[in-house]
């Protein structure tokens, strides 16, 4: 801690000494798109104007404070109005504001030019993860996946060393090609989230029932990190955004493998799994999707998040349990996981819940049961 304070003090001195050169830790990022650079320039222009105003205004104020003191024998003047002065300090600020508004309007108009995109990606916020879906003309080729926090719990609870990308790492990056106009269609499944990648200079709220547009042409390959910026419940601080920009050929190759492996995965859905396989897969799924509310030990946080251990649902009819997980409970925090998880994940997580935390129903849930149930509805 002492070191950190020392580092801060030297940092402050370096900051003052260096004048205009500002490190990333201190200032807005320049970013990797034309828009983000324009936004940065705009930010610095306005900042310097504000600093100049501050220097003049505070300069006059402190001059007065030091010179016009009673202890220095100052005798109060009697003036108390001046129409000329009043007009001057109404008109001059107005002119300064117009000077600020012109570049601001230009940048904003460019940001709103959402047409002419090369590809579309749907960004959907969930409590507390993001779903990305490549919207292709050919629906069969569209690919979607969830992207959730990958920082281990042990780092958050200070039981292990924090990685450099602490809280800014996800299980699967969103990949986009460089030098292409990528349009993001942002929406939400539950509450309002906000999707922000500082290096792209774009941020938009993900509002349920609304589709907001954003776009970026990324020029440099790399991994860019951001976070949800609208309070969305308890794990608001734990749903990062990671975008990987890659050369187009590389992206195309990656996308092709994803689409073909997706087809293979769909085919294996009809396979039956053993109790042990289901328990292993189920525990993993539970850890990612269920444990933030129902807790790792299945005790939940009653009454908002009910316990699974000993619950009526987990010890009652299997199909009722499955359909509750698939459809969720509208008007509550229980989401409809049918949209988020595949048949294997759904079957295994229900199987796990029915055979863990002291629950001991003994029945088996298979992916085929989930498919049958979904078809029946």
């Amino acid at each position: 801690m002492k070191n950190q304070i020392l580092r801060m003090l030297t940092g402050t001195l370096a900051f003052i000494a260096s004048g205009t050169v500002l490190a990333d830790e201190w200032n807005m990022r320049v970013g990797v798109t034309d828009i983000s650079r324009q936004v940065y320039d705009l930010h610095m222009t306005i900042f310097y104007i504000c600093v100049a105003i501050g220097v003049v205004v505070f300069g006059v104020l402190f001059w007065s404070v030091f010179q016009h003191r009673k202890s220095k024998g100052a005798v109060p003047a009697t003036f108390h109005e001046s129409t000329k002065l009043e007009l001057a300090w109404t008109i001059v600020p107005t002119l300064i504001l117009i000077v600020m508004a012109i570049p601001a309007t230009q940048v904003l108009v460019q940001m709103y030019d959402t047409g002419g995109e090369d590809m579309n990606i749907e960004v959907r916020g969930y409590q507390w993860k993001w779903q990305y879906k490549y919207l292709d003309e050919d629906y069969n080729n569209s690919y979607s996946f969830f992207s959730s926090l990958a920082t281990p719990r042990s780092q958050i609870t200070n039981r292990s060393e924090k990685a450099d990308t602490y809280l800014l790492e996800v299980d699967e990056h969103l990949r986009i090609p460089i030098n292409r106009k990528v349009r993001f269609l942002v929406t939400s499944e539950d509450v309002i989230h906000a999707w922000w990648v500082p290096d792209f200079g774009i941020k938009r709220d993900a509002v349920p029932g609304m589709l907001n547009e954003l776009w970026a042409i990324v020029e440099t390959p790399g991994i860019y990190r951001g976070q949800c910026t609208e309070l969305c419940g308890q794990d608001h601080g734990f749903m990062p955004i990671v975008v990987e920009a890659m050369p187009e050929a590389e992206f195309d190759a990656w996308y092709a493998t994803k689409v073909s492996s997706e087809i293979v995965r769909q085919e294996t859905m009809s396979k039956s799994l053993t109790h042990d396989e289901l328990m292993v897969q189920g525990e993993a799924t539970y850890g990612t999707y269920c444990s933030s509310c129902h807790m790792a030990n299945g005790e939940g946080v009653p009454p908002v998040f009910p316990a699974i251990a000993g619950s009526i649902v987990a010890n009652g009819s299997r199909d009722d349990h499955l359909s509750l997980v698939i459809n969720g409970i509208s008007g509550s925090a229980m989401q409809a996981f049918g949209k988020q998880l595949d048949a294997v994940q759904l079957a295994s997580v229900v199987h796990y819940q029915r055979n863990a935390f002291g629950n001991d129903v003994g029945d088996v849930s298979q992916p085929q049961d989930v498919i049958n149930l979904s078809k029946g509805q």
Binding site: N27, V57, H80, E86, I156, V191, H236, S332
Partner: protein, 534 residues
């Protein structure tokens, strides 16, 4: 004959304060009620401040150390609600109660019984709101802006208590405002025309109209929430054809005037203190009045600048950007006028003046970061980061709060008849000044570097700034306990104060003896140019 004399004598007695605890419960006296408001807001300030320290403790280092994220959200939410509705607003109403009748030359407020009611609603409203923290499922956890559907479909069960508490606070504010308007418009001493009113009276008159205009809007928003939660309506539920963004429009149509409700009376206070200690008349009184009126008008047409990222059409974004930038003009006029008042004055720097000068400087810093936030394309990068947190704390803490503290030091000789200890007051000022800047200045940097607000844990590059911020918060928090000590010491053993406690003080309140009599002016005083600002 002797009977008449006896009756007069009896009347005299009935006008003194009652004895015991019931004095405070039944009181209709503007000074008693002002005192109640001020102590209440101080208590809320310490509760809200304790919550801020819980937040800063958790944020001292990366990782979760002390509290869970769910409780962290309850702390940020309640800190905001309590500071806005429990500390800043009641403090200003308390000051209005104490000062407005004395400053306009009236015996009391126009509607004394309603005055009693509007205060006594508050302890119940806040007890109810704070009690939700101890309920199953916890208290409000959706931020002080309570955006739907997080505050409706996804809210804890206790949200209904929160809604009822907000209704009560709104009713209290509206009653307080009606009372202030009735007093100012009807009870001014003969000769005190509107353009001769003290600035504190002017700013409160305009603030009271703002309150009456927007509190019903807030009541409407929470009522719609209540219906969505309990009666299956879909005002804010997209699945039922409602619109979550509409909630934000309604909330900020209330919320933006609300932030000016918390700063206009501060402008009034500073416009009393600076001329007093500069020993020079307020520069540009008329333009000050018009500037406050312009700010109040503009406050109704800028609300969506809180919502630049919700996805409005370009024309909407441009309108709200331009209208927001315009606010800088009348605000600038006020700052320039204060500096022109100081210019070639004969200044001394007692505690109220120190707080007032700090107000001008630090509020201006908050105003300049406000201009940066108004620039829509740049706001996309600032929105919902610590840059915003730094901005609004600069205008609320060294802004609104410093003005309230300045007012207490300035008028406490009038209220208690005793003088505070100058060196203790100055010590309190410097501790607060250092604390506030160490807390909030680094937040500009962590925000620009990309730290979102309302998160219980953060990435490693934000660690240094958060540590400094937490240290500052503890300095600031504990120096307010020192303020409490200074206050109690003043009341118990301060040196006696004279009627005109400050050499350069002007205004009818300084004509009265210190402490001011229980009923301020039983006969209308003469309004002379000597006691006028205009």
């Amino acid at each position: 004959m002797s009977e008449i004399i006896h009756a007069d004598h009896h009347d005299d007695h009935a006008h003194g304060p009652a004895k015991g605890i019931l004095r405070w419960l039944y009181t209709t006296n503007h000074k008693d009620i002002g005192t109640l408001y001020l102590w209440f807001s101080l208590a809320m300030f310490f509760i809200g401040g304790a919550m801020a320290l819980v937040i800063r403790t958790e944020l001292f280092q990366p990782g979760l150390q002390f509290i869970e994220p769910a409780f962290f959200n309850q702390m940020t939410t309640n800190h905001g609600l309590i500071m806005v509705f429990g500390a800043i607003m009641p403090a200003f109403v308390g000051l209005a109660n104490w000062l407005i009748p004395m400053q306009v030359g009236a015996p009391d407020m126009a509607l004394p019984r309603m005055n009693n009611l509007s205060f006594w609603i508050l302890p119940f409203a806040f007890s109810m709101m704070i009690s939700t923290l101890f309920m199953e499922g916890g208290g409000p956890n959706f931020g002080w802006t309570f955006y739907a559907p997080l505050s409706t479909t996804y809210a804890p069960d206790s949200v209904t208590y929160f809604i009822f508490a907000v209704h009560l606070m709104g009713a209290s504010s509206i009653m307080g405002s009606i009372n202030i308007i009735a007093t100012i418009l009807n009870m001014r001493a003969p000769g005190m025309t509107l353009m001769k009113m003290p600035m504190f009276v002017w700013t409160w008159l305009i603030t009271a109209y703002l309150l009456i205009a927007v509190m019903p809007v807030l009541a409407g928003a929470v009522t719609m929430m209540l219906f969505d939660i309990h009666f299956n309506t879909s005002f804010f539920n997209a699945a039922g054809g409602g619109d979550p963004v509409m909630f934000q429009h309604i909330f900020w149509f209330f919320g933006h005037p609300e932030v000016y409700i918390m700063i206009l009376p501060a402008f009034g206070i500073v416009s009393h203190i600076i001329p007093t200690f500069a020993r020079k008349r307020l520069f540009g009184y008329t333009s000050m009045v018009y500037a406050v009126a312009s700010i109040a008008f503009l406050s109704f047409i800028v609300w969506a600048h809180h919502m630049f990222t919700v996805g409005m059409p370009l024309a909407g974004q441009l309108f709200f950007m331009y209208s927001t930038m315009l606010i800088a003009v009348p605000t600038g006029v006020k700052v320039f006028n204060w500096i022109a008042t100081m210019w070639r004055g004969s200044m001394t720097f007692e505690t109220p003046m120190l707080f007032a000068i700090a107000f001008v400087v630090l509020f201006t810093i908050g105003g300049l970061s406000g201009i940066m936030l108004a620039i829509t394309p740049a706001d996309y990068q600032y929105h919902d980061t610590y840059f915003v947190v730094a901005h609004f704390h600069y205008v609320l803490v060294p802004g609104a709060l410093f003005s309230i503290i300045a007012a207490v030091y300035f008028w406490i000789p009038k209220w208690t008849g005793k003088m505070y200890d100058e060196s203790l007051g100055k010590l309190h000022f410097w501790l607060s000044f250092i604390g506030v800047n160490v807390t909030f200045f680094p937040q500009h940097f962590s925000g620009l570097a990309g730290m979102p607000r309302r998160i219980p844990d953060y990435a490693l590059q934000f660690a240094d700034f958060n540590m400094i911020s937490s240290i500052g918060a503890f300095i600031f928090g504990f120096s307010q306990l020192f303020f409490l000590y200074v206050l109690i010491k003043t009341i118990r053993s301060g040196k006696p104060a004279v009627g005109r406690a400050w050499e350069g003080a002007k205004g009818l309140e300084w004509v009265l003896p210190s402490p001011a009599p229980y009923h301020s002016f039983t006969y209308p005083p003469e309004v002379t140019d000597k006691e006028s600002y205009a």
